[in-house]
Amino acid sequence: MLKLPNKILLAASLSAVFAGGLAALDTNEAEACGCFVPPDPTVPIVQAGERILFGQQNGIVTAHIQVQYSGPAEEFGWLLPMPAIPEMELGTDELFAQLIAQTQPTYRLDREYKGDCPFDSLRGQGSGGFESSPDDSEAGEAGEGATPLVLRDSVGPFDYAVLRADAKQPMLDWLDDNGFFVPGGTEDVVDAYIQPGAYFLALKLLKGNDVGDLQPVVISYQSDLPMIPIILTSVAADPNMGVQVWVAGDDRAIPRNYHHTRINDAAIDWLKAGANYVDVVTDAVDEIEGHHSFVTEYAGPSNVMLDVLDYQGRFGSMAELAAQTSAISFVNYINNSGYPLFGNNGPNGFAPTYASAILNILTSHLPVPSALLDEDITAAEYYWNISYYLGQYRDENPGKFLDLDIDFSPTEVAAELQERVVDPTLAAGQMFRDHDYLSRLFTTLSPNEMTKDPVFSFNPDLPDVSNVHSGEITYYCHLLAEPTQETTPAVLITEQGFKLVYSSGTGDADAENPYASVVMPQSHYQELLREEGEPEVVVDNTALIRTALHNAHQEDNGGCFVGGSSSTGLGSLAFFGLALLGLRRRRDS
């Protein structure tokens, strides 16, 4: 059997269930312990980000949490304060990959051409246009003396325990005695969560599992509203760490105790399909005092996720799978039953990918021969083409299969797949049948900003928010004798109605966004969202943005601004005169 290397992996902290941080009493100096406890406080750890899907129904909050951590596998630990004894199940990474794909903000341009533009791909066929997306590839990612132990169990790769949190020392002692690592300093933070009726959920990896075996967890608990215990993750966080939240419910979700920001879309690099989006969000939320604000990236029907994870017939029949006794037929049954995902992410453009849980199970029971790995044949390539590798290729290269191990128990492997892949995926899909509405919110927070745990509630009066954003760019080819896309003057009207002028053309693919240097607010509106009614606008930056753009354009008239190449004064002036006549202002949206 293949033994996975005991590699050092990135660790990060994420907790799904808010532990109300008494540690936040002095919020500016909070140095709370991450609930994902690092093995050694002196070892730097990296928190790549937090991704959580909340569902709220009948007083029960269900949280799907994607665990993104690094650190020695054998010392993985996770400590979550809980309001009640939680129910814990395994989740699936595919949920987050699909959520990202279905609700990802995109910025696209409709293109219009004035005059004879040789770079108009639809020239002679009427007005043309194309859409672009910033990153399609992302679619594919007790009392003294009594034991505090309430229950201990395992699920998938995790060994977990629920402990009473009504006394600190017995809980810490129990964790220490049972191999759950507790770093120095935890004692001080834990104090905040020690009270009658409170619990801690402690997780570690079962022996024989690697950090690569980590997969999302699903925790259900009683609460009116979902919260993220961001204070607890501050120690393990990166600067400007992304916090990505989806909330499934009956209505649009709002950040109850955070502000809400609508970004200034004139700051978006439309020509590169919004490649600077995260930077704009980061700067925009930083304009709020305390930097506590969320952006709504999508709000609308949850049916964008309907039949994505749990389409009819997916995974076939477990009985049929267990009846496949040969490695080839077993793996091919998986391949033909919706286990792998497909996307334009392979070296040849189209390739299947397997969730890490699937690969871990297959490599444990049907390991890839080491000689093939030495030839950089990936596990995914091997399993997808197993008929070839165990057929013709093996016949031609018998020496590469000396350590071939295809002695496996179909029943055992099928059961593992059921527990770690099929059940979690179908349960995640059910979330979007149980809830009609889906909201996606995003912010970035640095550790020193993680001083307030965000709480989410709902407002049925708020409108939907599309994740697809459209601008309109017009090229004025009749101004040049030999127009090219890079040099032709152009005007872009953003979705919010702001005008971006490229008097010397939009430049080539490597050209920097000329508007990146314009000093202007990165937020368009700073708002408060209540649980009913329209948004309360706290700051409206429309005038400031327009003034900043106007001033930039005035500078451009002097021949020193805008475009992929340096501006030409007279041309710019003439262009401005013509372009402004043709402009129309679009309504802010």
Binding site: A19, L25, N58, G59, S223, D224
Partner: protein, 179 residues
């Protein structure tokens, strides 16, 4: 009265136990059933009727929030029922809480006499919405009971004044509930 209930009710020292409606009196003759919002303590089965304006201490939750523990009871309806809960600041009507709908299975016993669930219900108050202080001002809780067919069966409201503990012990509460 079971001892634990007596203790729970006794612990509600701040509550004005004014007694509920008459056992046979219909609260709202236009509605089919009766609903009364009482107060309780964390996780208890206690129930205490309360008058409008009653002070109630904000109770800390295990996750760092603060709640008002309520104990609704029902009469004249049974089966699968829905309970909607709202809380508004009395001074300006601002919504402080729109709680998720609770599905309650009420036994037939409730057709003839008051019935309430085993445990009190924490109504989430803090962290408070940005700019809205959730303590030391009147908050009106409004509960509506619906049938499975969305027919309004009963309704009740109760005005309370949520309080944080005084002194240093209540500092966190005041921080989290200050909005």
């Amino acid at each position: 009265m079971p001892v634990r209930i007596a203790l729970a009710i006794a612990s509600l020292s701040l509550l004005a136990c004014a007694g509920g409606p008459d056992e046979n009196e219909k609260i709202d003759p236009d509605l089919i059933a009766d609903l009364e919002i009482g107060l309780s303590t964390s996780g208890s089965e206690g129930f205490a009727s309360a008058e409008d304006g009653t002070d109630v201490q904000l109770a800390s939750g295990a996750q760092g929030g603060f709640h008002v523990w309520t104990a609704p009871r029902f009469r004249g309806a049974a089966g699968t029922l829905y309970l909607d809960r709202r809380a508004r600041r009395v001074s300006d009507g601002t919504l402080m809480l729109r709680a998720s709908r609770l599905v309650i299975d009420v036994p037939v016993d409730a057709m003839g006499d008051w019935w309430r669930g085993r445990e009190a219900i924490p109504s989430f108050m803090c962290p408070a919405p940005v700019g809205l202080q959730a303590y030391d001002s009147e908050v009106e809780f409004a509960f509506d009971l619906f049938s499975e067919d969305e027919e309004l069966l009963a309704t009740d409201s109760l005005i309370v004044v949520p309080r944080c503990e005084s002194g240093e012990a209540g500092k966190f509460c005041r921080d989290v509930c200050s909005g």
